[in-house]
């Protein structure tokens, strides 16, 4: 974070600028950082490989972004409120494992495989909400730092999955897997289901953040919790809700994820927390909270998967350096973003 963000000095100066000659477009320009980055990447991608700009490839990229993107929408709320959740990858893995075990059990037991799959999908969301609720309660009522709570559950969730899977993989029974597969593989109007869900989640997220009192409370708490408290905002309730919301997002992402490979193993969702946090930050949300945008988050998530897609479509850079390229792009986009809050 550049120093001018923290020192109060340059702020009046910036305000002056805005009120004088340069109107709001400079501020908008900063918000365009991720969009500019994405456009540049796409141009680069097309130049490097003509297959990059095909509809199929775009759909592949958007579909694989859906998981991280949906989680990032929830993460955006948590980060804006000044919190963090490090456990989402482990949580997704544990939910995936639990859902698979449940469907495998309920399929034969209930006699209706379709019912089992539907109930499994509902279970994913319910589990996510419950885990989120537990986080929220520990953080607000238990007064433990979000970093610590979710660092703890990061280990707990994954350990339980490893335990349930006996160190191997939990796999959906074949017939049930075929029944569930369309949720990931089917398309509506030429657009894969996960992309639709991603779009819907993002729109709902945007509406909640910008058009509801709750959304405004989230931003107020992130920008100054004490002031929000004096303004009679029920800080604890709002905070708990942000974690529940994130949990629900993880649940939705997982119910889309399970039919992809039909299995969960201890490597499922590894480092998803960092990808989701990176998407939010690249999208222009300040890690210290207070302000942020869902659009930015969505663009950020897409940007991150476009990088790895381009790296896969080309072979100009040593494979050893893939992670470095991603790191550079994240830093460059964040640089284009600087100056916002």
């Amino acid at each position: 974070m550049p120093p001018e963000q923290q020192t109060p000095m340059p702020q009046p100066e910036a305000a002056q600028h805005r009120s004088e000659s340069k109107p709001r477009w400079t501020e908008h320009l900063h918000g365009l950082g991720p969009v500019i980055g994405l456009v540049l990447l796409c141009i680069g991608g097309t130049l490097l490989n003509s297959d990059f700009a095909t509809v199929d490839n775009a759909m592949n990229v958007l579909t694989r972004t859906a998981f991280i993107g949906i989680i990032a929408v929830g993460m955006c709320f948590v980060i804006i409120s000044g919190g963090i959740d490090l456990s989402v990858g482990s949580m997704a893995a544990l939910i995936a494992g639990s859902v698979i075990m449940f469907i495998n059990w309920a399929g034969p037991a209930s006699g209706s495989p379709l019912m089992a799959v539907v109930m499994g999908a509902v279970l994913a969301v319910v589990l996510g909400a419950l885990f989120g609720l537990a986080h929220g309660l520990l953080i607000t009522k238990g007064r433990i730092e979000p970093f610590i709570v979710t660092l703890g559950t990061l280990g707990i969730f994954r350990a339980y999955l490893t335990y349930f899977a006996d160190g191997g993989a939990l796999t959906l029974d074949n017939d049930l897997s075929d029944l569930y597969a369309p949720v990931y593989y089917a398309s509506l109007a030429g657009i894969p289901v996960p992309v639709w869900v991603f779009v819907i989640v993002a729109i709902i997220g945007g509406v909640i953040l910008n058009r509801t009192a709750y959304g405004r409370y989230v931003q107020a708490i992130g920008s100054n919790e004490q002031v929000a408290r004096y303004a009679a905002v029920d800080v604890d309730r709002v905070k708990i809700l942000t974690y529940v919301l994130l949990g629900v997002c993880v649940g939705i992402a997982t119910l889309l994820y399970v039919p992809r490979l039909g299995s969960a193993s201890p490597t499922t969702g590894l480092l998803w927390e960092l990808e989701a946090i990176a998407a939010v930050i690249v999208g222009g949300t300040a890690l210290k909270g207070g302000a942020g945008s869902i659009t930015g988050t969505v663009v950020g998530a897409i940007l991150l998967s476009v990088i790895s897609n381009i790296l896969n479509l080309t072979s100009i850079i040593s494979v050893y350096l893939n992670a470095a390229v991603q790191g550079f792009v994240i830093i460059i986009v964040a640089f284009l973003q600087r100056g916002r809050r």
Partner: protein
């Protein structure tokens, strides 16, 4: 009793005591096993086979005690080695090092305290820290699939490869694979990308291969976990040009597919079974019980698994 006879008696006692000492040391074996935690299927298999070895061997030999410790990272494993040495007081160790360089010193310390050390799979950077080394055959792991693919394709076709995580072990496999392809100039390796021994990454990398290359004859997934992601991506893209998907390591699901002949694309696999930890524990324990040593290096061969021999590699109870 005269001082003379007393001296003789004492000498006799001392002699028996001395004589019985090495015998005692050879009889009672307190074996420590230090392995990485079960964070992915292969390590799940390692854990399963280590526990299986403890169960089987402790039943067979009443003078054998096995303590298994699992570590989530290299520093934790180093701590556990210390505990095994000072608290559990082991006199033999079978260790699957998390990292080669980081664990060389800690293992050397255990050896310096008198324990017999067998290192499994990932070697140490200084071999004087070990008494014996047991490993799978990584060269064969890369060579066998290349030979199989070349033969099946009749020496002509397009191949893509998925790699694991950037490590020397992965390089060894890739080099062996490339070395074979050198003899088949008409087989083209289009690209090799890292998919980190992970299904999700393999799915993405394969999707992108399929976008990029219009004709692929064979995919070397280089791991059975990654092969799962490869197959799903092929299915999704509805491509039927791929004739061979070759995994690796002999996971039970893949071996079952080969046994049943369920998928035309999966006709073979190469073994690299986590069972080698079982073999290492068994070899070490039995040699120490007899007071013997192991050969300096034991390579558990990687062999081609086909329909004919698949049942020898099928272990339905193992998580891998």
């Amino acid at each position: 009793m005269t001082s003379f006879t007393r001296r003789i008696a004492l000498t006799a006692v001392a002699a028996t005591a001395l004589a019985s000492l090495p015998a005692l040391a050879a009889e009672k074996v307190n074996l420590g096993v230090s392995i990485p935690a079960a964070t992915h299927s292969f390590m799940g298999g390692i854990n399963y086979w280590a526990n299986q070895a403890k169960k089987d061997l402790e039943k067979q030999h009443k003078d054998l005690k096995i303590t298994i410790k699992t570590a989530a990272n290299a520093p934790e494993q180093a701590n556990q080695l210390q505990d095994l040495s000072t608290v559990t007081k082991i006199n033999a160790l079978v260790v699957f090092p998390f990292e080669s360089a980081a664990l060389t010193k800690p293992v050397a310390q255990v050896k310096a305290k008198g324990a017999y050390v067998t290192v499994v799979d990932r070697g140490l950077t200084d071999t004087s820290a070990q008494d014996a080394y047991v490993a799978g055959d990584n060269t064969a792991f890369g060579r066998i699939p290349a030979e199989y693919i070349a033969k099946q394709l009749g020496g002509k076709g397009n191949v893509v490869a998925l790699r694991g995580i950037a490590t020397t072990l992965d390089n060894e496999r890739m080099d062996a694979f490339n070395a074979v392809l050198k003899n088949h100039p008409d087989i083209k390796l289009l690209d090799a990308k890292y998919a980190n021994w992970n299904r999700d990454d393999a799915f993405k990398v394969t999707q992108d291969y399929l976008t990029r290359f219009k004709q692929i004859d064979a995919i070397w997934a280089a791991d059975d976990d990654m092969a799962v992601g490869v197959l799903k991506a092929i299915e999704q893209a509805k491509r039927d040009d791929i004739k061979i998907v070759f995994g690796g390591a002999g996971a039970k699901g893949m071996v079952k597919t080969i046994m049943d002949g369920k998928d035309k694309r999966i006709g073979a696999d190469v073994s690299y079974s986590p069972k080698f930890i079982y073999d290492a524990i068994k070899l070490t324990a039995e040699a120490r019980l007899k007071g013997e040593k192991l050969p300096a290096t034991t390579i558990i061969p990687s062999v081609l698994i086909t329909k004919e021999n698949a049942k020898d590699f099928y272990h339905p109870n193992s998580p891998f």
